[in-house]
């Protein structure tokens, strides 16, 4: 029974955060400033997810060649910057990431 209330509560707040802005904001007359600010949402949120993810391994801050997430993340960013091609970035980034981890495995 407790599980049911927990799931109901979590579902309600999650949906309550996701749906209203999606449904209502489009029907509101937004100021020019708000619309311009919203254009920064993708870069802001996605960067704030990936940068700490690459730098913190098991909650420890690691700047080193042994951090495969960081090294491969930089490689992927460079590929993306040069090519602007998402599929190429994903492919090259993943191949590099797993090859690099194998290489690290041999060294260590």
């Amino acid at each position: 029974m407790e599980e049911l209330w927990l799931i109901l509560g979590m579902t309600a707040v999650t949906f309550g955060v996701r749906y209203p802005s999606l449904a209502l904001v489009g029907r509101m007359q937004l100021s020019d400033g708000v619309i311009r600010a919203l254009r920064y949402v993708p870069v802001a949120v996605l960067t704030a997810i990936i940068v700490p993810y690459m730098l913190f391994r098991d909650e420890v801050f690691v700047i080193s060649y042994t951090n495969s997430y960081l090294v491969a993340g930089i490689v992927a960013a460079l590929v993306s910057w040069r090519s602007k091609n998402l599929l190429l970035t994903i492919g090259a980034g993943l191949v590099f990431f797993f090859a690099y981890r194998m290489l690290l495995g041999f060294i260590a």
Binding site: I7, T11, R18, V43, A48
Partner: protein, 256 residues
Amino acid sequence: MTDSFFTTRRTSFVAGMRDTIPMVVGATPFGIIFGAFAVTEAGLSFWGAMGFSLFVFAGSAQFIGATLLAQGTGIGVIVLTTFIVNVRHALYGASLAPYMKHLTQRWLLPLGFWLTDETYATVVGNWSKSKEPQPNMEWYHFGSSILMYVNWNFWTLVGVLFGSRFENAAQWGLDFAMIVTFTGIVVPLLVNRPMVVCAVVAGVAGVAFNGLDNNLGLLVASVLAIAAGYLAEEYTRRNENNRLQSNTPITDAGGE
């Protein structure tokens, strides 16, 4: 309705699924780990664990919720924490909303329910390829959403049933698929200085506030970065206006 009408709908739907594949790969180990953790450590029943993935459907909030439950935290605190963890979705909704004005509730309700980091990133990545909103983009969004949802629930189920056999799922490195995809979406968006300022602030603040509980660091970093990008844009514009003004010939030459 013509044939081509359906074809474009289906094409958009399939394209949305296709573009979400790397995200699905990235989410896989987390689905397994969540399922296993929910029934072993958090002490949820089979349907309790599946209920998290079927109804809440929010990766990081589910993890934090199950962890709090394992620690014996009360329902009220867990629900409040879930809210804090998910507040960033309000930003997603607001940023998508202008493109979704024409959609009816029949679309907005499910797409709202299914809104995740991954689907948001996929949809934004698709839009940034073309200036104009595409005709069947709700089908694209739907394709991305449904694949994320089915995949998340499938791997939760696998974790619930066979979790103990996948103890090292976190070490597989599949989560890098999500990181590399987000990277490939963000970098091409850095087309001017304000966007770069926004990214730098997001990265630095994201690291600086990483220690805050409940994803609060992500929220703080996002808000700071949006503000920084906006202010940088205002600054650039003001400078350009000034330059335009100072370039206009001064007829009333005095002084010198």
